[in-house]
Amino acid sequence: MTTMNHKGDFPIYETHPGMVYLDHAATSHKPDIVTRRTESYYKTSNSSPHRGAYLLSVKSTELYDRGRKEVLDFLGADERYSTVFTKNATEALNLIAQTHVMENVKAGDEICVSIDAHHSVIVPLQLVAKRKGAILKYLYLDRTGTFENDAITAKTKILALPWISNGLGKIHDVKALLKRAHDVGAVVILDGAQAIGHIPIDFAELDVDFFTFSGHKMYAPQGIGGLVAKKELLEAMPPFLTGGDMIEYVTEQTTTYAGVPERFEAGTQNVAGVVGLMAAIDYIKSYGLTKIHEHEMALTSYALEKLKALPFIEIYGPEDISKRGALITFNVEGIHPHDVASLLDEKWVSIRAGHHCTQPLMKHLELSASCRVSYGFYNTIEDIDKFVDAVKYAREVFGYVDVY
């Protein structure tokens, strides 16, 4: 059992020492180093990157470009890859759908999506499929996160899936799925939002096409995210948002565009966000992803043990704990998930209830909603204990007399 406690790194626990925050999958808290470095950027180097000949602009440009490099290094991506910054994972996923998918998918082609994909994966692809007359197919999963069908065919042009499902906690066998898709000539959109900052990631072992992420879920500030993609894919893509900074020549009627990756970054970019993201990467590296993952696995295993001891809890996701990310979804018999969340909130335990932006998954699993606990490096065994106690309290309020 893990006894690590890193709350001291996170100023929010000074403000709310009693808080049990278990909604890390929605967003993470920020270690001191992240807010301090961001503030320091504004105090020492603030300016508009790329455009100015003067010192501050040079500094901002350097920081911004270093950010691209550090993201690549963090993922083990070599010089075949490039980083494009966006405001969040959702923008990155829209970018891919509107450019690569829009350009490469024709009527009758198939886009294959894992049913546990986030709305931010599904909805942009729905729109492209509709516009192009392509067929949107799903890979179905059961409540344990096991695939039920194989929808990948010779017609599949795109496979999209979360590395770790935020509705089931399943860590997908990304290596096998990439290979399966590449074998039929499909390009893979890998939604890394729940994987980055949780498990060691090494592109060198894989053959990733597109990888998307949000900074705010990995200890970085809000408002920064991105995609890491093969340069050869990016180079073939038309621009997404257009305007300042991503152009080469603009005349009254026509425009030529900058190269990769600038072509995909319109307007003044969020350098402070990139600085915060680099600080978050440094924070993660200072402990190491192996250690972070071990800690989170220990929490998963402890929480599962505790929850399984309660007969009124139904747990979703894989049995095999090595296939689980840092989250558990479940339901409490007799209490609607939203009531569970509100009652836990009375005990200062913050969890998420609802569809977790995965309505098609919920529909497929015949669940109208579920509860989700999700955790990061700052969470402790005591947090899990308090959470379980709060669940028991919810049952009491609802008039149940439980014997454990």
């Binding site: 209490i335 609607h336 998930p337 939203h338 009531d339 969340a341 509100s342 009652l343 009375e346 209830a353 609802g354 569809h355 309505q359 919920m362 109208s368 909603a369 309020v397 609802f398 008039g399």
Partner: protein
């Protein structure tokens, strides 16, 4: 303060208003995409008076207790009075000021005042009331 008072738990569990309504003159269904609440309000109107009302469907305790308390409140009231109560309730949970007289008229429904501080739950606590409002506005 907990939202989950005895009154709410009682309405949630009693189910006296959760039943089919024979001969309902109006039915209105309301959904809450966020949590999957899905309730239908059935109302029997006669000469401008709400003779009877009931609900069916599924939802969280807040949504079920809220519609049940509403039904107790509006039964045997003139439509115009039900409308006033409904407007007062919706103002209250938005955090707007409501006259003392109307607060009194809300009776048990007053306990939902705390919803104004729970943005994620407001939709639960107003689902039934929005159904009522739709029914009344259609008249």
């Amino acid at each position: 303060m907990s939202m989950y008072t005895e009154t709410i738990m009682w309405h949630n569990q009693s189910g006296h208003n959760k039943r089919p309504l024979e001969g309902a003159t109006h039915v209105e269904r309301g959904n809450n995409p966020n949590c999957g609440d899905d309730l239908s309000l059935e109302v029997t109107l006669e000469n401008g008076v709400i003779k009877d009302a009931a609900f069916s469907g599924s939802g969280c305790a807040i949504s079920q207790a809220s519609i049940s308390i509403m039904i107790d409140l509006i039964k045997d009231k003139a439509v115009m009075d039900a409308k006033k109560i409904c407007d007062a309730y919706l103002s209250m949970v938005k955090g707007e000021s409501v006259s003392e007289e109307m607060v009194d008229a809300l009776e048990d429904a007053q306990i939902f005042e705390g919803l104004s501080k729970m943005p994620a739950r407001v939709k639960c606590g107003t689902l039934g009331w929005h159904c009522l409002k739709t029914v009344i506005n259609q008249l």
